[in-house]
Structures are given as C-alpha cells and as structure tokens.
Symmetry: C2
Subunit: 134 residues, 2 copies
DNA sequence: AATAATTTTAGAATGATTCTAATGATTGGT
DNA sequence: ACCAATCATTAGAATCATTCTAAAATTATT
C-alpha cells in the first residue's frame, strides 16, 4: 500500500462518509499538497477493485465512496442527503427467495428529511407520494 | 402530454426496460427521425420529476430508466447486467424499523450471472467474496 | 547499483448531462 | 380568428465526472 492508497483508505473509513472523489481529494491535499486528482481516482478504483471500499451510485450525482462494513442508507428524495442506517440483515430472507447464494445487497430507503419537510411545508404532499410507489 | 413525452413513456414501460438515454433516443428516432437528444433528456427528466418513470443509477454507467411498478433488481457484479426480480414486499418490515413512513425503497442484490460464472470458471472465487460483505 | 514493476503526474480525451438562446407549436382569452 | 402567453423543441456550446496516455518519479527485486 502506497502512502496515498493508505491515506485514502483511512479517509473513506471515517464517519463523515459518503464522500465524492472531489471531497476526498481536498482532504488528501491537506496532507499532500502536490497530489493530483487522477491519483485519487486511481487509488479509489484500486481500493474498490480489491473490495476494500464501497461505491455508492445515485442518479445525477457523482459516485460516492463508503466503508465496507455492512449497513443500509436512507436518502432524502428532495435534497439527496444520504444517511447511514442499520436495518435488520436481509441476507437469509433474500437468499431463500432468490434460491441461491449471492454476493451482497444494497438497500436504499427514500424519505423526506426533517430539513426538507420544514422547508416544503408540513402540509404539502411531496411528489404525489403514494405508499406503493416504486 | 406531447407526442414525444407520450412515446418515451411508452418505450420505458416496455419489458426490455432499463434503457439508457441513448437507447431510448435510438428507438424514438425510428418513429421521429428528426428528434434530438436534448428532447429525450428533457422529457425523461420531466417524466421522472412527475414520478411517472424511475431512474436507476449504477456506478460508472449512465443512468437507466425503468417503469414505476414496484420490483427489485439483481445485478451481476461482473458484467453489470441488470435483471428484474420480485422479492417479497419489505415496506412493512422497514417501516416498523424506520419508525416512520417513507416514500419508497430500492433493493439491489449482487450476484454473478450464469454467463459470467461460466466464463470465469466455476471454481474461481470471485473478488474475495464473503457472505457478509457490504 | 541496475533493472524491472508500479505509481504518480499533467493534460488531453471521452462520455453523460445540462444549459442557453432561438425557434416553433399549443392554448386561452377576447 | 387573432394575439399574447406559455410550453416544447432544437442546435450547439458548456460543464462535469471520469478515463486514458505517455512521460517522469518512486519503489521493489536481483
């Protein structure tokens, strides 16, 4: 592991996770002012290839990186904010239904975060929401 | 609804779903040879804003569009192929744990598709797979 | 130390998506 | 039917995220 790979791995494994490449780049630059964006991409890709970190994809937004420890996410439908949450493990339930083994799963729950609820007005019905959407 | 919006909505709601903007554009061009890519983006965004279609995001790949009827996806970790699947509805389970109402959820299960399993050799251990990953 | 292998760098290139400004079509009011 | 207002479409430039390329620097191997 090179110094860059090591530090990038550390950065991703901090609590304020879900960082974009750009954000990771800025933090890394504090320690190594001469580092270049391509290096961050290279190392993140390598770490991801080796499954040492995780990649989260959200429509429209740049990819984000996350620590590998199993957890789920809630996502604000309005502002896109991503927050960690720990739902009960679904592996067994899904394996039974899938009929075979699988590698992993990714669960995102969409809601409207408190901030957005306030801004949008408590009475307003967001996006024609119905319970059975999706 | 304009003719473009209507046709794009139809296209997305066909079974061979999960199309990229580019693919939708090509199909649409068969009917309306003069249509332009920006129009496809405009209409897909509008349909998505009004929650008439769904957007799927996968790291690296361009966004894909999907019909709104609730279903889940299995994704090949190796080639990225996306297939529909219908797991049992988790709304109630999750709502209980979340402690509140939410809008929807998105569940992706990662596995290695039969084609890739063949190509990679049945014995090979994919990506240092462990059962509790993610 | 010499050579090979790997990483980093800088910047160009690519791909996806949005933006802008002009033009064209549709709709509502009189 | 006419005009204004609104909305959709077009073309192309602009932007943003990401990858690629080739050279330079660093690290590991013999």
């Amino acid at each position: 592991m090179t110094k860059y790979e090591k530090r990038i791995y550390e950065i991703v494994n901090q609590s304020s996770s879900h960082m974009t490449v750009e954000q990771i780049y800025h933090i890394l630059k504090a320690d190594f002012p001469s580092v270049v964006l391509a290096t961050v991409y290279n190392n993140l890709n390598k770490l991801y290839r080796n499954r040492l970190i995780n990649k989260i994809s959200m429509e429209g937004m740049p990819d984000r990186y996350d620590r590998i420890v199993k957890h789920d996410h809630i996502v604000c439908q309005n502002c896109g904010k991503l927050t960690d949450i720990q739902f009960e493990d679904l592996t067994e339930t899904l394996k039974k239904q899938f009929g075979a083994d699988f590698l992993s799963y990714d669960l995102k729950v969409f809601y409207v975060c408190p901030d957005c609820r306030k801004k949008l007005g408590a009475d307003k019905n967001i996006h024609g929401y119905t319970n059975s959407m999706y």
